[in-house]
């Protein structure tokens, strides 16, 4: 995607009149934005509503009259929420770094060392990327159990790379491909080893790719649900998505306030990281679907 092509693709839209553009562009866009963002607003407003306002059909539900921090307080002090937060953070960071390391080595080997059979390995990595966790979790649960990892953080740290490594490797292969071969040849002539080439030439040039892959991998592990639901059962080692879904729902009484506060707080860290690295995230996402 070259830069010149990306600018002003709208071409001749200046021919359009302002009122027409308002109806055909801004109005639909406003509706899209409203629908896409409303659930977040709703999460936020519900987290600060006292129970009597939550369970009343009178008044204006879109606003809160007496905001309260009771739900957040309950979440932070009466539940294991802080522990879930810590677990999610720990598992996401460790599995992201482990996967990134393995992926850098693998991508370099496939793309640049071109060992015998590298093409087939590259294809296998792509196919691994297409294996959905929901067809893998049952046998994987039995593997985790056999290895004695059931109900430990290791179960998650070691299984998340099954979807992170294929994704990161695939993305990094694309980045490494864009680095000119000549750089590497010069270094080889000057007597650099492959390891030196990787750490001193390729990696510094691939920093944007590393950030893209890292951000994407972090959000993927933060959002992971089915493995965390299946492989962990003790409350103190659950992750946020699983903890909120399984522990905050007690019988038929739904504590909507603290449920929404839990959902909101659990979404904030990824939204925060994302807001700093939007461009990297988008290029990671679009890169992941490119051949």
């Amino acid at each position: 995607m070259s830069q010149e092509q990306a600018v002003d693709t709208a071409g001749m839209s200046y021919l359009e009149s302002a009122p027409r553009k308002l109806v055909t562009v801004y109005l639909p866009l406003a509706i899209f934005l409203f629908v896409l963002l409303f659930p977040f607003y709703w999460m936020g407003i519900t987290s600060f509503k006292p129970n009597n306002e939550l369970l009343s059909r009178e008044g204006n539900p879109f606003w809160v009259i007496e905001p309260t921090l009771a739900h957040v307080k309950k979440l932070l002090f009466d539940t294991s929420y802080p522990e879930w937060m810590w677990n999610t953070m720990l598992v996401s960071v460790v599995s992201t770094f482990a996967s990134l390391t393995a992926a850098v080595l693998a991508a370099y080997a496939i793309e640049r060392l071109r060992f015998k059979g590298a093409r087939h390995v590259g294809l296998a990595i792509f196919l691994a990327y297409l294996v959905p966790p929901s067809i893998l979790f049952i046998p994987l649960a039995s593997v985790v159990f056999q290895l004695g990892l059931f109900d430990t953080r290791w179960a998650l740290i070691l299984t998340y790379p099954t979807f992170l490594i294929p994704f990161c490797t695939w993305l990094l292969m694309g980045y490494f491909r864009s680095i000119p071969y000549e750089l590497e040849e010069c270094a080889l002539i000057d007597g650099a080893t492959r390891w030196q080439i990787l750490t001193r030439i390729i990696l510094p040039l691939a920093v944007p790719g590393l950030i893209s892959a890292g951000i994407f991998a972090f959000t993927l592990s933060w959002n992971e649900f089915i493995y965390a639901l299946t492989f962990v059962s003790s409350s103190e080692i659950k992750t946020i998505p699983v903890g909120v879904v399984t522990e905050l729902v007690e019988g038929d009484v739904y504590h909507w306030g603290s449920l929404m506060a839990g959902a909101l707080l659990g979404s904030l860290p990824v939204a925060f990281v994302y807001s700093f690295f939007v461009e990297y995230y988008v290029s990671g996402m679009t890169g992941s679907v490119k051949e």
């Binding site: 995607m1 092509q5 990306a6 693709t9 709208a10 001749m12 839209s13 562009v25 639909p28 866009l29 899209f32 896409l36 963002l37 659930p39 977040f40 709703w42 519900t46 393995a102 080595l105 693998a106 080997a109 496939i110 060992f115 297409l130 294996v131 966790p133 929901s134 067809i135 049952i138 039995s142 593997v143 070691l158 790379p161 099954t162 490594i165 490797t169 492959r194 933060w222 959002n223 649900f225 089915i226 299946t230 998505p241 699983v242 909120v244 879904v245 739904y254 909507w256 929404m260 959902a263 659990g266 979404s267 990824v270 939204a271 994302y274 939007v278 995230y281 988008v282 996402m285 679907v289």
Partner: protein, 300 residues
């Protein structure tokens, strides 16, 4: 010895592949094979199974709940993917105009895709609540309905509700990736066709769409794969209810294998999804090949 390793591409390649290969073989390839094997056994939690051949599959073929789950999965995947495609394409075309704050719009639109699905699903659960649903409240105030809608208590309502949640989550992905595709189309095509008197619809039909087809095929393949194997939304919003009306293959396999302990049967349900996934991949792969060939590309 170390020097020799440094210069042998095959040996060094093997060393570099080692960490990824060990993890993937142990936690991906082996479980995949194990899953196929489990599907042919009557394994229960805590009890090794006996080989029973196709018994699980024969049972599931006759099982009303499994048949319903298959229907639900196909219905859910078809409707949600079609909606995601049209809405996503529309949103991408809107974002491709020269707008103010375009970068901001693009960043905000992706939010539903990046926050944990299990957590946004809880928000939808609350939005679809039978007594306090904000949608029902708004519709009542507008005078469109008299009684609150039972979104998740009635089979067809529940099906459409979970589809709505899935579309909400998936549209940003489709829109942003298609937008990236749109931005690679050179404006000169539009200028040339406009000079030849093409209408906006003709431009879309004969310039945008053909050039966008490859990326549409890839994006929609991914979208179909993820929708077909969806688990979180259903597990959180309905747990497959009411009356199994929203059970998908993935949630049913979880219920049978993990909650019910019938690992063999659950594995068989998972494995039964594979042919459908392969079919989706094949359709898109061969579709793209045929297109490349039509456009003068050689046989690969």
């Amino acid at each position: 010895m170390l020097d020799k390793l440094q210069n042998n591409r095959n040996a060094l390649g093997l060393v570099f592949m080692l960490p990824a290969a060990v993890l993937l073989l142990l936690f991906l390839t082996y479980p995949l094979g194990l899953g196929v094997w489990l599907g042919f056994t009557d394994t229960k939690v805590g009890r090794p199974g006996q080989w029973v051949g196709l018994e699980n599959y024969a049972f599931l073929l006759e099982d009303q709940v499994t048949r319903l789950a298959l229907f639900n999965t196909l219905f859910y995947t078809t409707i949600a993917s079609v909606l995601k495609f049209f809405l996503g394409l529309w949103l991408a075309l809107l974002l491709n105009r020269n707008l103010r704050f375009k970068t901001f719009f693009r960043a905000v639109i992706l939010l539903p895709y990046i926050v944990p699905t299990a957590l946004s699903a809880i928000a939808f659960w609350w939005i679809f609540d039978s007594q306090f649903s904000i949608i029902s409240w708004a519709l009542t105030k507008m005078g469109l309905i008299n009684a609150y809608i039972d979104f998740l208590g009635e089979p067809w309502n529940a099906r459409w509700s979970v589809i709505a949640a899935n579309v909400w989550r998936g549209v940003p992905f489709v829109a942003i990736t298609l937008l990236a595709g749109l931005q690679t189309i050179s404006p000169s095509y539009y200028e040339a066709s406009a000079i030849d008197g093409a209408t906006p619809w003709q431009q879309f039909r004969h310039v945008t769409l053909p050039l966008l087809t490859p990326i549409i095929a890839v994006v929609m393949t991914f979208s179909v794969l993820f929708t077909f194997t969806d688990f979180q939304l259903i597990y959180v919003i309905t747990r497959g209810g009411p009356l199994n009306a929203t059970h998908l293959m993935a949630t049913l396999s979880f219920q049978r294998a993990i909650s019910g302990g019938a690992l063999g049967e659950g594995a068989a349900i998972s494995i039964a999804m594979v042919p459908f996934l392969l079919a989706a991949i094949m359709v898109s792969y061969f579709g793209l090949q045929r297109r490349a060939w039509q456009q003068g590309g050689g046989d690969k």
